[in-house]
């Protein structure tokens, strides 16, 4: 009986027809494709894109050079050098030198994007929410060495995206 069933199955090509019916049905399914530059996939507030360094509202940079990010980074993409800020430090947004004098700050904060694996550990490790990852994922390097983000570049990105960054941190804050 089983033999007969098998013979019938083989010679009516039922298995092949079943396969065809599956692909035939998929032909009419709704398509998942996003037309990329015009349509974009939704992003989570936890999206891990290009990095940025944030500032306090008064313009003072948040980073205190604790080097936790450098320590936690599994790809060793972050290099930090720190020193107490010297007497000639410029005024920031009119905030006087008296407050900032002698603060420990980074003199160098470099992040190699070729090494970075975008795991987000730096963000997690940071006690002052200074280093964060933005939602920016469309960027290019058009010259050698541009993969190494300097402190200035990171701060600039932070300034550019501050409203979005603050909003995302606000949303995510209760889970931290």
């Amino acid at each position: 009986m089983n033999m007969l069933k098998k013979i019938i199955r083989t010679w009516t090509l039922s298995e092949l027809l079943k396969g065809l019916s599956v692909t035939g049905r998929y032909l009419f399914r709704k398509k998942f494709t996003l037309n990329y530059p015009e349509e974009k996939a939704p992003q989570s507030p936890r999206f891990r894109g290009l990095h940025a360094l944030r500032r306090y509202p008064d313009g003072e940079e948040r980073c205190i050079a604790c080097k936790l990010c450098e320590a936690v980074c599994p790809a060793m993409a972050i290099t930090i050098e720190a020193a107490p800020r010297d007497e000639d430090a410029p005024e920031i947004n009119g905030v006087g030198r008296s407050r900032n004098y002698g603060n420990r700050r980074t003199t160098k904060y470099e992040l190699d994007l070729f090494k970075c694996i975008f795991c987000g550990y730096c963000e997690e490790a940071c006690p002052v929410e200074a280093i964060v990852e933005t939602r920016v994922y469309e960027y290019i390097f058009d010259g050698r060495g541009q993969n190494v983000m300097t402190k200035e570049a990171l701060l600039r990105i932070g300034d550019e995206h501050e409203p979005q960054l603050a909003a995302d941190l606000e949303v995510d804050g209760r889970y931290r």
């Binding site: 090509l13 692909t23 035939g24 998929y26 494709t33």
Partner: protein
């Protein structure tokens, strides 16, 4: 005419006819690749090319331009002459076979009485292109592809030939036009019904002959890179590509002519619909039938995994061949007993 010698006029007239057949065929090939990418894309729940031109309609043109401007690389150690001849050998039969395809009643380049034999001969020559390409490339993968192709040929070609014998028995003619005329009548008079197993065997052998999935062992992308055409680039590759698709269209046309009544209307003999569609030209019906087969080619490719080549041979020798022989026997009895409406009058003809 214009004071030209009679012979020259014949030559020019034939050339014009050839262009009229080949130009739409090439366009058909281009848009078959587009249809393939779209349909397979849709079956994989994505939308396929949609960037070049409106809805991606210019994609095949862009592809063709790209291939034309690419360098043709002659591998060191390749047999230069054969390396260049191979693509020509594979496309020439794919185009030449169109000479005997009847597009409508009387609309055929060459009304050959041995049309079916001519087709059988030419479609079999195409595989030499593949084998020579594999050998001339001086590459292991290409050679493996060629060997696989050779192994594949012997396993399906015989069954395919027998399937055609079935058609010729039923029609009593080797002329493709006469074969279509023998199927005159409605949809149920066509040979797909009385010769159903042969129809299936013929179409599947056709898929094998064009080296299409699931019988694309000669190419075997995941196993032997690109098989026989690994070493080919630019236009030499494009010609293999053209040949493959031209062959697909040819097999679709042949299957329509031999089993689905070629240019005949499916509604002939149906009371109301038959009269309403009587004005539709036969070419339209032929093209519709061909597109159905072409859709099946693409559908198969989207559905089935590749056969191992011993499986292809098992299929050819142990399934197709017995089935066709058995059905030829049945058909012979039917013709002898004059079972209508298909087989009466065959003996008298």
């Amino acid at each position: 005419m214009f004071g030209l010698p009679e012979d020259l006029i014949t030559v020019i007239w034939t050339l014009i006819k050839i262009v009229v057949i080949v130009a739409p065929l090439m366009l058909g090939v281009a848009y078959l690749t587009y249809a393939e990418r779209k349909i397979i894309g849709y079956m994989q729940v994505r939308i396929g090319p949609n960037r070049v031109g409106p809805k991606g309609w210019l994609q095949p043109i862009a592809d063709a331009l790209k291939l034309m401007f690419k360098e043709i690389i002659l591998p060191t150690g390749a047999n230069k002459m054969l390396f260049v001849v191979a693509p020509v050998l594979s496309i020439a039969p794919a185009l030449a076979a169109w000479a005997v395809i009847p597009f409508d009643d009387g609309l055929v380049l060459s009304n050959l009485d041995a049309g079916l034999l001519y087709i059988l001969a030419l479609t079999s020559v195409g595989v030499y292109g593949v084998i020579i390409a594999g050998w001339a490339s001086n590459s292991k993968y290409a050679f493996l592809g060629a060997l696989r192709s050779a192994a594949q040929v012997v396993s399906y070609e015989i069954a395919m030939g027998f399937a055609l014998v079935g058609v010729l028995m039923a029609a009593g003619s080797l002329n493709l036009g006469d074969i279509v005329r023998a199927q005159e009548g409605g949809f149920l008079n066509w040979y797909w019904l009385p010769l159903f197993p042969l129809f299936i065997v013929y179409f599947l052998s056709g898929v094998a002959e064009t080296n299409r999935a699931p019988f694309d062992v000669a190419e075997g992308e995941s196993e032997i890179v690109a098989g026989f055409h690994v070493e080919y680039s630019g236009m030499t590759f494009a010609i293999f590509f053209l040949a493959e698709y031209a062959n697909m269209i040819l097999i679709a046309a042949l299957a329509s002519v031999l089993f689905l009544g070629g240019w005949l209307s499916p509604f002939a003999g149906v009371p109301l619909l038959g009269d309403m569609t009587a004005w539709v030209p036969g070419l339209f019906w032929l093209l519709m039938k061909m597109s159905i087969f072409l859709f099946f080619f693409l559908w198969f490719r989207a559905t089935f995994p590749r056969y191992r080549y011993d499986q292809i041979m098992r299929l050819g020798w142990k399934a197709f061949l017995p089935v066709t022989i058995f059905w030829l026997f049945v058909e012979g009895i039917a013709i002898y007993a004059e079972i209508g409406p298909w087989f009466d009058g065959v003996l008298g003809a």
